[in-house]
């Protein structure tokens, strides 16, 4: 839980990955939260995840009152996401109550109230000692009860009763045309309103979330993409929230002696990010592979994201220049994750990224090449995603290496994405390929290295059976810096 001097009231972790960060700690404890969205946008799952993680991670029992799905359907539907509601019910931490209202068998005459719902809810809350409650979707009552006057008054009473009861409640509501919810529930639940949205952009389905209102608390105001995958809902807070990570003074080798020697401290700081740019065929991947081997030599796991080569292809190609990935793949020190950039939306890549970070806990991450992500997102999106990614890696003190393909005329006309990444990364190495006198001259130049002096001269190298080999540049090749 985060303590923020401006947020005086306590907060309850939402159980949704990434959401607490946007909400500065989570939902308002003991108060209702309204989640609204159209059909199929994940409202129910949102509620289930809030309860399940409340039980599993924070030892806060919960009550799920369903006005639509039966308890059986509900538990079947979320089972595929790894939520076992039956087991939680048996352990006495969860109570699912399905309120079924069959219009055809009900007649209304005279005065009534919804006290029975209060009693059911109260009984359920007390029976498991619930701290969290979900009402999904309370608006179904409008289909079963004719007297809206009574219903509205009772809902208002219900929400304030829940507040008095001190349980943190998630109320889901169907998105209306004019208002956030069809029945204007936002009038009653005014503390915190979250809007879910599901739309298709460029043929890629994207889910987005926005915090419309959060009384008394700061919150992120953007639309944040979220995903539903085998781990449930994850929100990606695309904009960076702070720059508070610690900075390491430890130096790690790049894996290339000559490069280490060109840097005043004999390597890069741990947890720093390095950008390797160059046009096609300038050995960016090979250089990244050297970084990977250096990490492996330190017995530190490496996560290699390959967007252009399959793992087998990468292993074979590296083998041809004497870099043997295979034993390290087997020993678990090296993990290669390959995928086509266009196969998934940008969010999906980011989520896969986070999941892999969680699972593998690498000390070095390589993205090869980061420029191919541009094909699936607008430049601003890619940039936002990278900021987020870099922040995460920094926070975890993971060394990052990104390669980026640049056009050969790059020096005249700035490449947008490269510009964006280069300003974010701590170090920038540019690789070059010149043909002169029928000979190929490969050069490496350190463009920048934050926090340490470096050799600004371009250095010539060759690709040999053992990877990079630096050579002493001869006089006539001094103009290779372009």
């Amino acid at each position: 839980m985060t303590e923020n001097s401006k947020d005086q009231f306590p907060k309850t972790p939402s159980g949704i990955n990434g959401l607490d960060e946007i909400m500065m700690g989570g939902f308002p404890s003991g108060r209702p939260v309204l989640i609204c969205g159209g059909a199929g946008c994940g409202k129910t799952l949102f509620g289930v995840q809030f309860l399940v993680n409340g039980i599993l991670k924070h030892d806060e029992p919960g009550v799920f009152m369903s006005f639509e799905e039966t308890a059986n359907d509900l538990s079947m539907n979320v089972k595929s996401l790894g939520f076992d509601l039956d087991e939680l019910q048996e352990s006495g931490k969860l109570k699912v109550d399905h309120v079924r209202i069959e219009r055809s068998e009900i007649e209304e005459t005279g005065e009534f109230d919804l006290e029975a719902i209060f009693i059911r809810l109260n009984h359920a809350i007390d029976s498991v000692g619930a701290k969290r409650v979900v009402l999904d979707t309370v608006e179904a009552l409008f289909g079963g009860i004719e007297n809206y006057g009574i219903l509205r008054a009772e809902l208002r009473r219900l929400f304030s009763w829940l507040k008095e009861k001190g349980v943190t409640t998630v109320i889901t509501g169907e998105r209306g045309k004019q208002s956030f919810t069809r029945q204007g529930l936002e009038e009653y639940v005014s503390d915190c309103v979250i809007l879910l949205d599901f739309r298709v952009i460029d043929q890629i389905a994207t889910r987005r979330l926005r915090i419309v209102k959060y009384r008394g608390s700061m919150h992120g105001t953007n639309e944040y993409p979220f995903l539903i995958n085998e781990d449930g809902i994850s929100v990606i807070p695309v904009t960076s929230l702070n720059l508070t990570y610690g900075s390491s003074r430890e130096i790690v080798s790049t894996g290339l002696t000559q490069l280490d020697d060109s840097l005043d401290h004999g390597g890069f700081y741990r947890g720093s990010s390095t950008l390797i740019t160059g046009s096609a065929g300038t050995s960016k991947t090979i250089m990244a592979a050297h970084f990977a081997m250096a990490s492996i030599a330190r017995q530190e796991p490496v996560l290699f994201f390959s967007f252009e080569e399959s793992p087998e292809q990468l292993v074979r190609n590296m083998e041809s220049i004497g870099i043997d990935f295979k034993p390290h793949l087997d020993s678990g020190l090296l993990h290669i994750k390959a995928s086509r950039p266009s196969l998934q939306g940008l969010e999906m890549h980011l989520i896969r990224f986070y999941n892999a970070l969680e699972e593998i806990k690498p000390r070095t991450v390589i993205v090869d090449p980061i420029s191919s992500l541009i094909t699936i997102g607008s430049s601003s999106e890619v940039r936002a995603m990278l900021i987020r990614l870099l922040d995460t890696l920094k926070n975890k003190q993971i060394n990052a290496v990104f390669t980026a393909l640049t056009q050969s005329n790059f020096k005249d006309k700035g490449d947008l994405t490269v510009e964006a990444i280069s300003s974010l990364s701590d170090a920038w190495i540019d690789l070059n390929n010149n043909r002169k006198n029928r000979r190929q001259h490969r050069t490496m130049r350190i463009v920048k290295a934050r926090g340490m002096g470096h050799d600004p001269e371009a250095q010539e190298f060759m690709i040999t059976d053992n990877g990079f080999r630096f050579t002493i540049p001869t006089e006539q090749m001094t103009d290779t810096t372009n």
């Binding site: 209202i101 005459t109 005279g110 005065e111 006290e115 009693i119």
Partner: protein, 96 residues
């Protein structure tokens, strides 16, 4: 005329609220009038037995449930409209 089964009704209340008292008075009156002795009214106070609300899917108070004859019927409210209650329970008025 075939012999009818005994009517089984249940009235769900939550404490002795005016609405519940009126509902009980009303249903007793209608039953005496139209079902003579062929009925039984069970009163369930949810304040005492909250766990019983789930079984009959009770959400409103007061709720009258017709359990026999089937199918199950529910009438919510203080039952002040006699005609509606009779229609709802499908009771044929005797005085017609």
């Amino acid at each position: 005329m075939k012999k009818e089964k005994k009517w089984e009704l249940r009235l769900y209340i939550a404490g002795q609220t005016p609405k519940s008292v009126i509902a009980l008075e009303n249903i007793t009156k209608y039953c005496k009038k139209h079902l003579t002795d062929n009925y039984n009214i069970e009163i369930i106070d949810l304040l005492e037995n909250p766990q019983l609300a789930e079984g009959d899917q009770i959400f409103a108070i007061p709720t009258l449930v017709r359990r026999v004859p089937e199918p199950l019927r529910k009438i919510i409210g203080d039952l002040s409209n006699e005609e509606k209650v009779l229609v709802g329970l499908n009771i044929r008025p005797l005085d017609k």
